[in-house]
């Protein structure tokens, strides 16, 4: 099986193929535009510094100004990123009740014990229960393009940012109308300012467990530094992307990250066929491909020198 006639050409061919794919991947990746804006507010010159220094004010709003030099091709995706945030922690990740989240009213009354310590509050069941839901990200963003000193709202599309299966299969609201009644005798998660059924006041269907932002949050990240989709920019004047110009990102700063040395970022990115920007894959393909070619030459030399099969 490991004869010279298979191994040496095999390595060579694989090497060449890898180099080809690597080049393609790298070019693709380089064509993707990414813009990251840190708004943690730890530095004094940061506009959000005021929101992190006492006295802590509710509904602190800070504005980040930035400039786009070349056309940011659409569709543009707007993400928020958190670092040093262990959504991958086992207990944290398990702290939810799938039955409750799929709309089973039985579990509205007695949430799963996994949700502890966010199972009951004041003797009433928490819906949605558990740490994961409780810690839902609650900063909100508004993007303005500044045209001649005037702020022009860039329309955000918040629909369809969650997985289709999460929205249609996995998470279900109880079959109640109005939805609010299903939540009778329950309390909202302790860190939430609004109950689940009133997350989106502008769209009645985007509430409860199928609220898009909630769904995105509930799909917990595998790694401690992660990025979650917040909105898409697909409409109106911005259908083809963000034109050159000055922009202002208005952040309603609610989510504390300083306590665990985390950072918060707002990220604009577009995508290609291979998804978001990722240089690693292209480089890895190039390196491995080259190594395969080198190995095939090394093996050729070894084979020429020793020629084991013939010396016996």
């Amino acid at each position: 099986m490991l004869s010279a006639g298979v191994v040496i050409p095999g390595f060579f061919v694989i090497g060449l193929a890898f180099i080809g794919i690597g080049v393609g991947l790298l070019i693709t990746s380089r064509s993707i535009q990414v813009l990251e804006l840190d708004y943690t507010g730890t530095e004094t010159n940061s506009p959000c510094y005021k929101c992190t220094t006492p006295p802590v004010q509710n509904n602190c709003v800070c504005k980040l100004n930035f400039t786009i030099d070349t056309l940011f091709k659409g569709p543009v995706f707007f993400y928020y990123s958190l670092t040093n945030y262990f959504q991958s922690q086992r207990k944290y990740g398990a702290s939810k009740d799938y039955n409750q989240l799929s709309g089973d009213l039985t579990y509205f009354k007695s949430p799963a014990s996994d949700c502890d310590p966010y199972q009951y509050a004041n003797g009433k069941p928490i819906v949605p229960c558990g740490s994961l839901a409780n810690s839902m990200f609650n900063d909100t963003f508004k993007l303005y393009q500044i045209i001649n000193g005037q702020e022009k709202l860039v329309p955000f599309d918040g629909k369809g940012i969650a997985w289709w299966t999460d929205y249609n299969i996995k998470y279900r609201n109880p079959d109640y109308s109005p939805l609010k009644n299903a939540f009778n005798d329950t309390v909202k998660p302790v860190f939430w300012s609004k109950a689940a059924y009133e997350l989106d006041t502008s769209d009645a269907t985007n509430n409860g467990f199928v609220n898009q932002d909630f769904l995105v949050w509930m799909r917990r990240a595998a790694l401690p530094n992660f990025r979650k989709l917040y909105r898409r920019i697909t409409e109106g004047d911005y259908k083809d992307g963000l034109p050159v110009g000055n922009y202002s990102l208005e952040i309603s700063y609610n989510y504390p990250v300083i306590s665990f040395d985390g950072t918060k970022k707002a990220t604009f990115s577009n995508v290609s066929w291979m998804g978001g920007q990722n240089e690693f894959l292209g480089i890895a393909y190039l390196v491995i491909g080259s190594m395969c070619v080198v190995m095939s030459i090394v093996m050729l030399i070894v084979y020429a020198k020793f020629r084991f099969p013939d010396d016996d």
Binding site: F77, N99, L229, F308
Partner: protein, 1147 residues
């Protein structure tokens, strides 16, 4: 796994078998309770064991076992006095080999099973998994297989125990005639008491130790078969004391017999017995000659923990599927052995079979083979093969050009139908000899006349013309039978006469004297007077001895005969030279007178007789030479040669005498003339043995240190077991060692055993002769203890049972000697030569497969587990699993179990032909290269590398990226699916890389498992199943959102190749630079057709070394019959007298 010989450990039996009848004593001195008898199944097979050949009366001395353990100085018992004997509370005679009864079965069996570490470990895991805080997996993943394993084992144990109960019942209820209150009553063996007098009939078994009182035979003799003690199938003669013998068959006399026996308590010494019998105030000493001792074995099979179980216990990543898989692989591989047509022996319809749950991978690691001789290497058939008469060789067939023709089964045989008394079983191929003898050639006739006269064989003519010979040695029987077929039929004998039929004419010779055989004389003569009144001395003996005593006129004939002898020796035949001498009547008269005087002399009797013999046995005329073949089993020399090439050392342990053993050593190529030296250790003192061993060692290896280098290391579970290893020492040249049982007894003492081991291990060949079953086991244990090598013992008789059980692997030859060896062995087959296939093919494959299995298994599980370790840094060390819980459950049981099973059942590096052709392929197994510490480190390092790739490549590829629709992909569920898919693909490709031998099953399992993975994944992540139980299948939709992305697949390809390509490159380069023997053979096997099996017959050689004169070992019956008194008192009734008496002086 560590208790494969467990059923035997508890009952440290004496598998020596049933004892001799009349002997006394049970030897198991150390066992506190329970009973001994041979392995239970052994009791069921009734055609073996010590058998009584004649009806006898005997006196039960002691039962099998004592009930309570107290220091017993002496045993005292009285015949016909149950009350007296009962007061000593000797144990009763019932045997119990079963372990359980209905009520104790469940608790005891479970207890036994949980003593196995693997079971206990999994029980512990199960308990852990039931604690919700600790467990990350459901408890039934461990419980279901564990319960399955436990119940299968319990069922097997139960059926074994039911068989034991049946056997015990059968043995205990066997009936025997016991003399109670003056009447013979049928009693069950279990109810027989110490001190009872019992009557045994011909061919009965004996289930207690007995003292012989009297016999229906003349001279109070009894013939017993002792095959279970020393492997010799010829009958042994034992004799009762005169004082008891006088009672004869009289029930009244026996009923009033009130003898008291005082004897030593049960011990395990085979060759000594001390006791006295007191009858009517007169004490008679009972020694070993009067009483037969039965063999026993007290083989303490040290319970060992195998490496595998150690691995199992120490590794927390080991799942129960490993345990189950290992069992399946063993089972599978042993079925392959069972089914092997090439190990099937059509002659007696025996195929190879496997008895116990063995570690058959150990078959691929054998370093030492301990083999029995008789019945294993040899067929225990002596045939008169060739002879040289008056300078002419007979027995060989030549074609026209004078080339020797090989004799096969198809070669036409000589027709002996002209001789009505001929033995139909006798086979001879050379017609010229018959023609010559029928022509009346005087030399040929006197040659056969000698064979018919000069021996101590006893004839038995039950029906007219149906002759049976009872010979003390089979060689002698073969010679007399040859003479019989060639027209010189030994018919009967009395003390004074020998009657033979000479070419149909009855001739009665007067037997003047028998000049008996002994070890110094190495010859035997008879002086007979023919009816014509001619007195002749006939002598047969070892060539060197006879040659010195020949008349000078025979010189020319001697030369020719010597050539023939050399040829015979080269063929491994046992030779004897025959000579005769006509005696002058007057000289004879005078010699007889002196002979009478000498034999009655009080001092110097031996010497004076010796002188007389010397005097008369000279100036003899050479008649010729005989060659008797101790028939080897088919293919023995070739097998031994191949095994030797595989660097397996073969030690022969035989109960036979030294000469026979040596002869067989030569004929099966274990001893060769080219060897630098063959040491013979036969000293009679400990010091002498030490000196002989030392000098042999110094000769072989002058530079070696005086003290052996013993390296002590620890192994086993938690390194608790201390092991001592004596290192192998390099020796230039080839040496061999022969040691007899007597010296071996000294050499096996604690202070000499290392000396013995060192010297023996330097030798190419070691032959131990005259060894007891116990010594056989001790030798095996010595090697096991200090060499840490895997040992195999092969034998066919009950006397081999001990060593078969002592060795790691026991192989039984299912031959003529009964079933004990087979029943206690791990493997059994009909022919020694199958050992080659068993070891070099099946053993090697099994080892290879088991190692491959373990390496692969650990690789896949280490890789699997290490990924969790890397992920720990990214999940806050929270024990978050990387993979889906379902995947974890199914990984070992469904996704990867079948391919690795297929690999470890069917894989072979080269096929069977190549395997047997190149025994060198076996060597890596002996050094355990395929699963050594180094190999284990390598695989751990490689797993580590693989896990790094498997974690960090997917990590780097998706940690900051998103799907092509901008949605999340770096979420936990996607990452889990991603990582597990990579893992499974990588281990599957690795499996393909490790598979040498592709079968349809391999393909089916590998690709089937991958397909199953995707099918199961898609099902479990589907909407339908989520809706049914939302909390069990939270991964809904993950596969649809992840596996449709090109960059995910690109990453999977990258990961797989990054794991696999370095292995390919490494293996390729290593194979080029340093190819192993396997690589070379495999390369050849690809190019060439498989080699044809090697031809059977070895080339002929001529040897100057001759061996094995065909006499019995002991002095024979001479002494027994010198006592005229017996003859007087018990006149022969229906039978012909057994022995001649040669010294009428005592009358």
């Amino acid at each position: 796994m560590n208790n494969r010989k467990e059923p035997y450990q508890r009952r440290k039996q004496r598998e020596g078998g049933h004892l001799h009848l009349f002997t006394s004593n049970s030897f198991l001195s150390e066992e506190p309770e329970g009973n001994i008898f041979p392995s239970p199944s052994l009791l069921c097979c009734c055609h073996t064991g010590v058998k009584v050949k004649d009806g006898i009366w005997s006196f039960l001395l002691s039962q099998l076992e004592k009930k309570e353990k107290k220091q017993e100085e002496e045993r005292l018992l009285r015949a016909n006095d149950r009350g007296f004997n009962l007061s000593f509370q000797y144990a009763n005679n019932a045997i119990r080999t079963s372990k359980y009864n209905i009520f104790t079965f469940l608790p005891l069996n479970l207890f036994e099973q949980f003593r196995r570490l693997a079971n206990a470990y999994f029980l512990f895991l199960l308990i852990l998994q039931m604690i919700p805080q600790v467990s990350s997996l459901s408890w039934f993943t461990t419980a279901v297989p564990l319960v399955l394993v436990l119940s299968i084992t319990a069922a097997k144990d139960a059926s074994d125990d039911i068989n034991r109960h049946k056997c015990d019942k059968q043995v205990n209820n066997r009936e025997v005639e016991v003399l109670i209150d003056g009447e013979l009553k049928k009693e069950k063996w279990k109810d027989v008491q110490v001190g009872d007098i019992i009557k045994l009939e011909n061919n009965e078994f004996v289930t207690a130790d007995l003292l012989l009182l009297s016999s229906s035979e003349p001279l109070n003799l009894v013939y017993v078969e002792t095959a279970e003690l020393d492997g010799e199938t010829n009958l042994k003669v034992k004799q009762a004391l005169t004082v008891t013998g006088e009672m004869g068959d009289s029930t009244e006399a026996l009923a009033t017999f009130n003898g008291e026996v005082r004897c030593e308590p049960p011990n395990n010494c085979l060759d000594k017995f001390k006791g006295t019998l007191t009858v009517n105030g007169q004490a008679y000493s009972l020694d070993n000659d009067k009483v037969l001792l039965r063999g026993c074995v007290n083989a303490s099979l040290s319970s060992f923990l195998t490496f595998w179980s150690y691995v199992i216990v120490l590794n927390t990543v080991v799942p129960i599927s490993l345990y189950v898989s290992v069992e399946i692989i063993r089972l599978g591989n042993s079925f392959f052995i069972d089914w092997d047509r090439k190990m099937y022996y059509p002659k007696n319809d025996t195929c190879s079979s496997k008895n116990h749950h063995t570690l058959n991978e150990e078959l691929g690691q054998i370093k030492y083979i301990f083999s029995d001789k008789t019945g294993t290497l040899t067929q225990n058939i002596m045939t008169f093969n060739k002879c040289s008469i008056n300078g002419k060789a007979y027995g060989e067939l030549c074609d026209f050009s004078g080339q020797r023709i090989e004799i096969t089964e198809k070669t036409p045989r000589v027709d002996f139908s002209w001789n009505q008394l001929a033995d139909p079983k006798f086979i001879f191929h050379d017609h010229s000899l018959v023609e010559t003898v029928r022509e009346g050639n005087p030399e040929v006739q006197s040659f056969f006349r000698l064979l018919a006269l000069c021996h101590t064989v006893m004839p038995e003519e039950k029906k007219d013309g149906e002759l049976f010979y009872q010979a003390q040695s089979p060689d002698e029987g073969a010679l007399v039978t040859a003479a019989r077929n060639f027209g010189f039929v030994f018919r009967s004998r009395t003390p004074e006469t020998i009657t033979i039929m000479e070419m149909g004419r009855k001739v009665v010779y007067e037997l003047v004297a028998v000049l008996d055989f002994n070890n110094v004389r190495k010859r035997m003569s008879v002086i007979v007077r023919s009816p014509e009144g001619k007195t002749t001395l006939y002598c047969k003996g070892a060539d060197t001895i006879i040659y010195e005593r020949l008349h000078p006129s025979c010189r020319d004939l001697m030369k020719v005969t010597t050539d023939h002898l050399n040829m015979y020796a080269g063929d491994g035949l046992r030779t004897l030279v025959l000579a005769s001498k006509d005696l002058d009547e007057s000289y004879m008269q005078e010699w007889r007178k002196r002979h009478n005087e000498a034999s009655t002399a009080l001092d110097g009797r031996e010497e004076r007789l010796e002188e007389l013999y010397e005097e008369i046995e000279k100036d003899m005329t050479l008649l010729g030479a005989t060659a008797v073949e101790d028939k080897l089993q088919d293919g023995v020399p070739q097998t031994i040669e191949q095994l030797a090439k595989a660097d397996i050392k073969i030690w022969v342990l035989t109960g036979d005498k030294q000469e026979t053993a040596e002869n067989i050593g030569y004929s099966c190529n274990m001893l060769r003339e080219e060897m630098n030296d063959v040491f013979i250790v036969a000293a009679n003192t400990a010091e002498g043995v030490r000196e002989e061993l030392r000098s042999a060692r110094r000769k072989m290896c002058p530079d070696a240190a005086e003290q052996p280098s013993v390296s002590t290391s620890r192994s086993g579970l938690f390194w608790l077991k201390k092991t001592q290893t004596v290192q192998d020492e390099k020796v230039d040249g080839e040496y061999a060692m022969l040691i007899n049982g007597h010296s071996l007894a000294f050499a096996l003492e604690e202070d000499l055993e290392l000396e013995l081991l060192r010297t023996a291990c330097m030798c190419q060949t070691v032959i131990c002769c005259r060894v007891t079953p116990l010594q056989k086991a001790q030798v095996v244990q010595l090697v096991k203890k200090y060499k840490q090598a895997v040992t195999l013992a092969i034998g066919d008789g009950a006397n081999d049972v001990s060593m078969i059980k002592a060795a790691h692997i026991g192989v039984g030859i299912s031959g003529q000697e009964g079933m004990q060896a087979v029943l206690s062995s791990d493997f059994s087959f009909a022919q020694f030569r199958y050992l080659q296939r068993l070891l070099l093919v099946h053993g090697r494959w099994s080892y290879l497969r088991m190692c491959k299995f373990l390496r692969y298994f650990f690789y896949k599980n280490f890789t699997f587990t290490f990924v969790h370790f890397w992920y720990a840094f990214f999940c806050g060390f929270s024990a978050q699993t990387v993979y889906d819980e379902w995947f974890i459950t199914l990984y070992n049981t469904v996704y990867t179990s079948l391919p690795v099973l297929a690999l470890s059942l069917f894989d072979q590096d080269v096929n069977d032909r190549w395997s047997s052709q190149y025994p060198q392929l076996y060597a890596p197994g002996q050094q355990n290269l395929y699963f050594s510490k180094k190999a284990f480190m390598n695989l751990t390092a490689f797993s580590c590398y693989s896990s790094l790739v498997l974690y960090f490549v997917p990590w780097a590829a998706i940690h900051d990226t998103v799907r092509d629709d901008g949605k999340d992909i770096a979420d936990y569920q996607s990452f889990a699916l991603f990582a597990q898919t990579c893992l499974l693909i990588v281990v599957s490709i690795q499996m393909c890389l490790d598979t040498y031998h592709w079968t349809a099953v391999n393909n089916l399992f590998i690709w089937g498992s991958l397909a199953t993975y995707f099918a199961v994944t898609f099902t479990m992540y589907s909407n339908g199943i989520f809706v049914i139980i939302p909390s069990a299948f939270p991964f809904v939709g993950t596969e649809r959102n992840t596996l449709n992305l090109p960059n995910v697949w690109l990453t999977i390809i990258l990961t797989s190749l990054l794991c696999i390509l370095p292995v390919v490159a490494y293996r390729f380069i290593v194979m080029q630079i340093r190819p192993t023997i396997n690589d070379k053979v495999r390369h050849r096997a690809r190019k060439e057709p498989p080699p044809a099996p090697a031809p059977r017959r070895p080339a002929r050689r001529v040897s100057t070394r001759r061996s094995g004169y065909a006499f019995a070992h002991s002095k024979g019956y001479g002494d027994l019959v010198t006592s005229q008194r017996f003859l007087m008192k018990r006149p022969v009734k229906s039978r012909v007298m057994l022995f001649s008496h040669i010294t009428p002086a005592e009358t």
